[in-house]
């Protein structure tokens, strides 16, 4: 499994990579724009990311915008039968508006409020079939 982490705080990025390193091949970036570039390139190469963790507040391009672009790129590249990437938004702001925008407009798969719990990340991966159930237990 390929995983892309977009998070502007270096320590948080490092820890997310550390948590997920046993489950996926990880790429991590510190802004939305680079995340979209990597996401697009991966699709073009035929090695798409199955799991994306997007922080909402990021420089250059925020997570909401990156999410929209990723879904657009996905729609251009893939036939309908192909499974869409599991994109999880992470934010320090537990805001109803952010959640609504991410879920209804941006079409994210799920939503995690910081502090991100390792167990929650594993639960999300299990829920969307990225890892088998027994591994998380």
């Amino acid at each position: 499994m390929r995983c892309l982490i977009a998070e502007d705080v270096e320590f948080a990025r490092e820890m997310m990579s550390f948590f997920l390193s046993d489950y996926a091949e990880i790429d991590s970036v510190d802004n939305g724009e680079t995340a979209v570039e990597l996401f697009s390139a991966a699709l073009a190469e035929g090695r798409p990311y199955q799991f994306v963790c997007l922080d909402i507040l990021m420089p250059q391009m925020d997570g909401q915008e990156a999410l929209k672009r990723m879904r657009q790129i996905e729609a251009l590249h893939e036939p309908l039968s192909r499974q869409k990437a599991v994109i999880v938004m992470t934010t320090a702001l537990n805001s109803l508006e952010d959640m609504q925008e991410a879920l209804w407009r941006g079409d994210c798969t799920d939503y995690l409020v910081k502090p991100v719990m390792f167990a929650d990340l594993v639960a999300v991966m299990t829920k969307y079939g990225l890892i088998p159930k027994q591994k998380s237990e």
């Binding site: 502007d8 705080v9 320590f11 948080a12 820890m15 997310m16 550390f18 948590f19 046993d22 507040l57 990021m58 420089p59 250059q60 391009m61 925020d62 915008e65 320090a92 702001l93 109803l96 508006e97 910081k114 502090p115 991100v116 719990m117 390792f118």
Partner: protein, 386 residues
């Protein structure tokens, strides 16, 4: 000259004022045209047949008959009074009378002149009524002004109370905002230890690094509270504040809570002000928050806030400008109004800029204004300095 003198009769018959003579039996001996017409009669209808008392308003009768007797007895030779007479149609005619005693062949009679003053009396009554109405209105007005003032004071008190809650809310929100990231770091660090331990990769170096990181974050969180206490502490007496240093400190403090916005400070006024640090903090933070919100709401990719402090003579000027696109013409005049907010109800109390203006004007003896620049809004705060 006698009553029968023709010249005298022509003169009195046609006088513009009423003329009358009443004999000792209160019978009307003579009335001229004006006097008779005043009450709707012809003179011949009254003369020799009518008691003058029948022409007087019943309520004025006793007073008038007394006066009449006194004059006949020579006690009051002449008198000038107002009374109410009755018109043939029954309506009241207000009259002014000048009466005197005359003697003809040893017999006393009363003679006088009379003027219809109904119009004047009505006008006077109307005037009195209007004066009364005005007095009542004045009293009501005073009462209403007092009531409105009282309502105004109550409103002001409620707004102050709400603003205190709002300031408290902002402070809590500020701390919460600054604690989110370190809390995330702490949470991850502790979990990393657990995960590393479970994997069997927990080395001394890994342990030390995470312990250090954890302690650094805790110290940062503690510092955040100290900062808030410093900037929001209540001082009773005004103190001398070095404006440039204070503005730099407040902006530094603000900068730590905003990510992805570039903040420039140019504070070279070399001036002092007299005031309270918490008030200056509240004023600047509210204004900076407004700029931050504009930049975040409009998703400005290279958001910038410039804070410039200058001074001219005894006036310092703090300018806070952003590139957030400015404030629309429809709302620019209302942004200092209480409860006006473009933010949603959960985050914006609508009191921030209202309180800012109140503090600047009332407590700092200054002025605050806002105007649009080429790419954003600029707040200007002018305060006395030395």
């Amino acid at each position: 000259m006698t009553l029968n003198d023709n010249k005298f009769k022509i003169l009195t018959d046609n006088a513009l004022v009423g003329v009358y003579v009443i004999d000792k039996n209160v019978m009307i001996q003579y009335v001229n045209n004006a006097a008779a017409a005043m009450l709707g009669y012809r003179p011949e209808e009254l003369m020799g047949t009518t008691s003058f008392l029948t022409l007087i308003h019943p309520e004025d009768l006793s007073l008038l008959s007394n006066n009449y007797q006194q004059r006949l007895n020579g006690e009051t030779p002449a008198s000038h009074y107002e009374t109410r007479a009755l018109h043939k149609s029954g309506r009241i005619v207000n009259v002014e009378v000048f009466a005197t005693v005359i003697e003809d062949s040893g017999e006393r009679s009363l003679a006088g002149t009379v003027v219809d003053i109904t119009a004047r009396t009505e006008a006077q009554n109307k005037l009195t009524e209007q004066q009364l109405f005005l007095e009542t209105m004045n009293r009501t007005l005073e009462q209403r002004v007092a009531e409105e003032l009282s309502i105004g004071r109550e409103k002001e008190r409620l707004i102050m109370q709400q603003s205190r809650f709002a300031a408290l809310g902002e402070m809590v929100a500020g701390i919460a905002h600054q604690w989110r990231q370190p809390l995330n770091t702490l949470g991850m660090s502790i979990q990393a230890l657990q995960v590393a331990h479970a994997k069997g990769t927990l080395t001394t170096e890994f342990m030390e690094r995470h312990s250090r990181k954890t302690l650094d974050e805790l110290q940062y969180m503690s510092q955040t509270i100290d900062n808030f206490r410093y900037f929001f502490r209540t001082e009773t007496a005004p103190v001398t504040i070095c404006l440039d240093d204070a503005v730099r400190k407040i902006v530094d403090f603000f900068s730590s809570s905003v990510a992805h916005i570039t903040i420039f400070v140019d504070a070279r006024s070399h001036k002092n002000i007299s005031g309270h640090m918490n008030e200056l903090t509240q004023v600047l933070l509210s204004t900076l928050n407004n700029s931050r919100d504009a930049l975040q709401q409009r998703k400005i990719s290279e958001g910038t806030i410039r804070v410039v402090v200058t001074a001219e003579d005894k006036r310092a000027m703090i300018r806070i400008a952003d590139n957030g696109g400015g404030i629309s013409d429809e709302i620019i005049d209302r942004i200092f109004d209480p409860f006006f907010s473009t933010r949603d109800r959960l985050t914006g109390s609508g009191l921030g800029l209202y309180m800012t203006r109140a503090i600047v004007e009332k407590n700092m003896n200054g002025q605050i204004a806002v105007a649009n620049s080429a790419d954003g809004a600029e707040f200007s705060i002018s305060i006395p300095c030395w």
